[in-house]
């Protein structure tokens, strides 16, 4: 589904020095796979996601989606950002409908679909609210519904729950898995939480500190659908979390 080949990205810093954010990243993502990209802050994991989204151009290497090279953003890849990035001048309904109207869907149809999605993310009754009037968790629910509305085949989630409190974060992780179980979209999920990565994913890609290289790819062979309470007591889940934490702590090769 997604093929990432020998991807590198370097930026020029404000002082004119070159900063290598990503170095020689290659991996494939199968259709319907839930992949987390895990790494210390500043390892370029978000940059990797932005390159797949077509928002950032790589310095070297290429990304192909179903065999076609990525040259820019497109509705086949739906982003969800940590900053929510809702249109503040649109209501909840207006935000969720936005992508559909943009793609020429008739207003009544767009509204029907948007209302169904708003109900799915448990925000019925808030259709007329502006983003300013919502809590962080509610904003992220709207953002997820807005992205799901135009039916991307791939979800690109950039630390989507990173700005939320622990309780909301847990609730949204559960909701995301419920939503994902319905149609099993391909998901690239950037996070710096090991538990979150293990709980959600089929595979966790661990990146090194800058420049970001792939340190390990860990398969998470835990049965689905996953229930949080069962998983937390599951020896295999605990082992995976500890193993990945050790991986993150371990000194990097070649240093």
């Amino acid at each position: 589904m997604i093929a990432i080949t020998e991807l590198s990205k370097s930026f020029e810093t404000a002082r004119g020095a070159a900063h290598v954010a990503l170095s020689d990243i290659s991996f494939d993502v199968a259709e319907g796979e839930f992949i987390s990209i895990l790494g210390p802050s500043g390892c370029g994991k978000s940059t990797l996601l932005y390159i797949v989204g077509g928002f950032v151009v790589p310095s070297r290497g290429a990304v192909t989606i179903a065999g076609k090279a990525v040259t820019g953003p497109g509705p086949d890849r739906g982003p969800v950002f940590q900053e929510f990035a809702l249109f503040p001048w649109k209501t909840v309904l207006g935000n969720v409908m936005y992508g559909l109207l943009e793609q020429g869907v008739a207003r009544p149809d767009a509204e029907t679909r948007a209302r169904a999605l708003i109900s799915m993310v448990h925000l019925t009754g808030y259709e007329g609210f502006y983003p300013k009037e919502l809590s962080g968790g509610m904003k992220q629910r709207v953002a997820i519904a807005r992205t799901l509305a135009y039916r991307p085949s791939i979800l690109l989630m950039d630390e989507p729950f990173g700005a939320l409190d622990a309780l909301t974060r847990t609730a949204l992780q559960n909701e995301l898995l419920d939503i994902w179980e319905r149609d099993r979209k391909t998901v690239l999920f950037v996070t710096h939480s090991v538990e979150e990565a293990v709980f959600l994913s089929d595979r966790v890609i661990v990146l090194t500190r800058a420049p970001g290289r792939i340190k390990a790819a860990v398969d998470i062979a835990l049965a689905r659908p996953r229930r949080r309470a069962e998983l937390l007591l599951d020896r295999r889940y605990q082992t995976l979390v500890v193993d990945i934490e050790r991986l993150l702590d371990s000194p990097e090769e070649g240093r």
């Binding site: 820019g72 982003p79 900053e83 249109f87 793609q103 135009y150 991307p152």
Partner: protein, 261 residues
Amino acid sequence: MSVRLAAVPGLPPLLACCGLLALWEIAARIFDISGLPPAHQALRELPAILGDRGSVLNILDSLRRMGLGFALALLAAIPVGLAMGRSRLVAAFFNPLLMTIYPVPKAALMPIIMLWLGVGDASKTLVIFLGVSLPVIYHSYQGARAVEEKLLWSAAAMGMAAPRRLTHVVLPAALPEIFVGVRTGLVLALITMVTSEMIARQAGIGNILFNSLDMALYDAVYATIVIVGILGFALDVGLERLRSWLVGWATPVHEMAVGTA
């Protein structure tokens, strides 16, 4: 107490007006100079001015020029400001130009512009246009520059092309900041309207003001100043209404809740 006073709409500004008039009246009586007539005398002139067909036509004429200059300025300044905010090249081109023109008092250009365009509408409208353009460009620029990149990315992922993102994402996102510039621009429009008529003395409310001054009709001078003040206040209230209607979504939540407190 202060909460209850503020709860009556329009009461605080009314009290402020009464206070100002009282101060004026007292100061006029204490200093007792012909250049400062007491408030009640000046205000008595108001019906005379507003009842005079010629004066009203002059005032309307001024407002027409101001409206035209203001509207043209918005039409030109907002796109320029937004383009500057989204393109480093455009910003690099316009920035030095703006920084040079900004500190020049626009009324000081009036005599030169009159040489080109005469003393009629064109010169005055151009001066108003220049006065309004700069703050509007500046704030549109700042507003467009501050638009969150990820809003644009979200729109791009929906399939929205770059030109449409400028009108459908950058413009609405920058609108609260643009309104800051428009409000400043409105005040400057009023100022340049009066000063342009002061220099090109031919018609308009500025002409009434400075003719009265020449003839030492101080009551009429102050009454005209009061009219300009009321015009400014009314236009600002109108703009504020428009602002809260268009960008009410940007009002912080705690401010919206004040009405229920």
